[in-house]
């Protein structure tokens, strides 16, 4: 609980309209897409870095937790106020401050919706590639904090690759600027990269300088259906060894697709074990050829059917299948344990077959899909939490899956972050020394441990 005095001071900082403490409001800021709930004591809606700075200084003085929050679409509980305190919602800081068409950069506030930013730059013939499936509702601030990626990562990289500089309010309230507006810049340590992916534990991002690209002239989207899962997984590396880097190469297994209503509408074969959604972009003449090459590779390596979208509308329908998977899995079982592993591309077949074996051994329903092009697979184990045995089994299975992934040279989280849900497994991947270094960094920046406590690793 916050004392009335603290609430009064916070009210003084942001104004009466921009602090909420009613039960109804607290409930609405208690959850994210992990479907877990922790009530905060207050929600703040600051409008600039100064207000955030004052709030954080107060938090240090009074010792209450502060948790930054974008759209609350996170998959690892990063924005959940697990120890109560104040949620700082960045919903109001949602302006695109500048799009520089000469230097191909932009400056945005953290609450800008990723998709809206993409459309704004596309109107100017520019391109911001990072495309998490949640792009229509997640915020760029949240993307920076999680280093979000998406299907286009295979060709264009992830959020990290587009963040040139930041304005950050440190946990102690000081405001710093990191990075540069120029492509090159080596003065001092790279604090920008440190902040990207720090899950709201090292500072609250209040401004972001982003790199832009010219918009590719055209895209071509296709969907290939494979009766055999291993064939589909193998085809992923075959496409790349044919010297084409698609802008998207997504994998979906049968269980994933079974939940998506849109699939049946495409009229594609239901006799399939896996789908690949593939997109190429660039010069329109070139991609026409590339699409044909990819189609041939797919058919050569076991695809039963390949559908190339005729127009934008058809492409959108194919994409809709992919985007709808994640949330619709709830049709299999009410609760989802959602892992986000990455393995080297060539190891995808091994990983998927291994994961399937493990799930089978534990008698669990498992659905796999994801950004196969960069080896990032979303492993979903569907359970009913009320069934305690099943939940315990799932826990065991996750550990085995992580072990498998690490054994073949992978990592346990590609883009969703650790937050609170992956905390127990960090030690499997990072050595004690590595964790200690990270904790020391946290300690230096946030000596009182007030910013987003209870995340990533057990707090100092």
């Amino acid at each position: 609980m916050l004392s009335p005095n603290i609430v009064k001071e916070l009210t003084h900082i942001v104004g009466k309209e921009n602090i909420q403490t009613s039960k109804e409001d607290l409930i609405c800021y208690s959850y994210d897409a992990t479907n877990q709930k922790f009530l905060p004591d207050a929600v703040l809606f600051p409008k600039n870095a100064d207000e955030i700075s004052l709030s954080l200084k107060l938090a240090n003085k009074e010792g209450f937790p502060v948790v930054p929050r974008g759209a609350g679409s996170g998959f690892s509980g990063g924005s959940l106020p697990v120890e109560g305190g104040v949620v700082v919602s960045l919903e109001r800081m949602n302006k695109i401050l500048k799009i520089d068409t000469d230097n191909l950069t932009a400056v945005v506030e953290p609450g800008v919706i990723t998709g809206e930013f993409q459309w704004a730059v596309e109107d100017l013939g520019l391109f911001y590639p990072p495309d998490p499936s949640s792009l229509k509702f997640c915020t760029i601030g949240g993307n920076v904090a999680e280093c979000a990626g998406g299907p286009r990562a295979i060709k264009y990289g992830v959020t990290r690759d587009y963040v040139m500089g930041l304005e950050v309010v440190l946990p102690t309230g000081e405001i710093i600027n990191t990075g540069t507006q120029t492509i090159k810049g080596v003065v001092g340590y790279d604090l920008t990269k440190l902040m990207v992916g720090s899950e709201g534990t090292l500072g609250i991002v209040t401004k972001i300088i982003l790199k832009l690209l010219p918009l590719p002239e055209a895209t071509k989207t296709m969907l290939a259906a494979f009766p055999n899962m291993r064939d589909a997984a193998k085809t992923v590396s075959k496409i790349i060894s044919s010297k084409i880097i698609p802008s998207t190469l997504e994998f979906m297994d049968k269980n994933s697709v079974s939940c998506v209503e849109g699939y049946s509408k495409t009229g594609l074969s239901t006799d399939m074990e896996a789908l690949l959604l593939i997109e190429v972009d660039g010069d329109s003449g070139l991609i026409e050829k590339q699409a044909e090459t990819i189609k041939k590779v797919c058919l050569d390596y076991g695809a039963k059917e390949v559908r190339i979208a005729k127009d934008k509308r058809e492409a959108k329908e194919l994409w809709q299948i992919r985007r709808a998977i994640s949330p619709s899995l709830a049709k299999l079982k009410p609760n989802k344990i959602n892992e986000d592993i990455v393995v080297p591309r060539s190891k995808i077949p091994d990983a998927i077959i291994g994961i399937r074996e493990i799930s089978k051994r534990y008698k669990l329903i498992n659905a796999n899909f994801g950004h196969a092009g960069d080896g990032n697979i979303h492993v979903n184990i569907m359970i009913d939490k009320a069934d305690k045995d099943e939940a315990a089994m799932a826990d065991e299975a996750v550990r085995e899956i992580f072990k498998l992934v690490l054994d073949i040279g992978g990592t346990i989280s590609g883009e969703h972050g650790i937050g609170m849900t992956k905390m127990p497994y960090v030690g499997m991947e990072l050595s004690k020394t590595t964790i200690d270094v990270m904790k020391k960094i946290k300690q230096v920046l946030d000596p009182k441990g007030i910013l987003n406590p209870g995340k990533i690793f057990p707090q100092v």
Binding site: D25, I27, C28, S30, F45, E91, R92, S134, K136, R323
Partner: protein, 448 residues
Amino acid sequence: MKTLEQFSQEINKCVLCGTCRSVCPTFGVVQREPASARGKVALCSAFLHNEISLSEGFIKQMNECVQCMACHKACPNDVNVPDIILAARAEIAKEKGLPLAKSFILKNILDSERIMPIAMKFISKLQGLLFKGVPEESGLHRRFPLPLIDERRVVPPLAEKFFLEVRSQGPASAGFKQGSEVRSKKNTLQPRVGFFAGCLINYMLPNIGEASLKVLEKAGASVIAPLDQLCCGMPALGMGDVETAKSLALKNLEVFEQYELDYITTACSTCGDGLKRRFKELLSDEGDDIQKRVEIFAGKVRDITELLVNELEFKDLNAPISDSGLLTPNSIVTYHDPCHLRRGQGIADEPRELIEMSGAKLKEMEHPCRCCGLGGSFNITNYEFSMAINRSKAEDIKNTGADIVATACPGCMIQIKDGLHQLGADTKVVHVIELLAFHLASPLTGED
């Protein structure tokens, strides 16, 4: 009608993913979670788990929804958020009663024995005193403070004579009243179509009713409009007054059952959605006999655009396309998809086909399916909010440069007209059916 309690499984289907934030118009304006569909589901869940009561905050959030169904359409788990919210409103109305303004509208206007109650007649006569006209516009501004009407608001005047009233007073030979119904001139034509007028067409935009009769007849149907028909009950349901909605559904059912009809049609998307879908839900606990009857009734209901294109296979207007006046082959028309037609009834192509049949050029706006912000009585209780939602619609329309915006719902028309007026745009607002009737020598609503 399912209670909120009975929706708990539906509520549990929500995984709090946030997808609906991207389409919810109330969230779009407020930009805070409680205004979003996800926030509202979370609040209903908290209420069912006794974490909150029917508090003021809860009631406010349940009221601030325009029932546009965009969230339901976008939801990957098919969570029917608008219906959950309706059930919450019913719970609120049951426990707390209806607020004064709402019960006034219901008792005096909507729940009356006939669709032309005395109260409305009275207001119609008095409106010259209450409102002043806006130059070159068919809207009115109020002169004196009225409890339900915002000062800046431009509303169409109540019709001098209501649609069913006019129709009930002419000679039978010209397609007017015969006994307790209105019949079209050629009343031996097949199929036989019952016309459900709806309050807005009856009271405010009778032109649409006239146009509908004309076009239906041209398309080869005989039309019967029972004079005893009532409000469809959807405004009552939207306010949480299930009992009123139910009794209206039952009475309407009885009225239309008196005629041998092949179809029942309406030119109001909200009425149509209600007749097709809600009557069944409202009467679901009324015993087998009524359920069977309402099933048959609902099976006959078609939106007028749907009826013309799909059932009457109306392909050709068979009339000279006028090349002067408001609508010529050079006119550019843009189309707004009413929520209750597009998402409620899945109808999108039919009205567009009819626009093209009228000879005009169809030019799509950027977001034709975005809600106009009316949301039934939401527009009355939350006028400013409602117009804030409308803003992007009005701008979208203006950006097309179209001469005319056509839609298929009188509610949307009134809202859009107000929004365009506030934006200073002079785009005419008409019903799709009026575009066709124009060539059959009917005036356009946007013109008079």
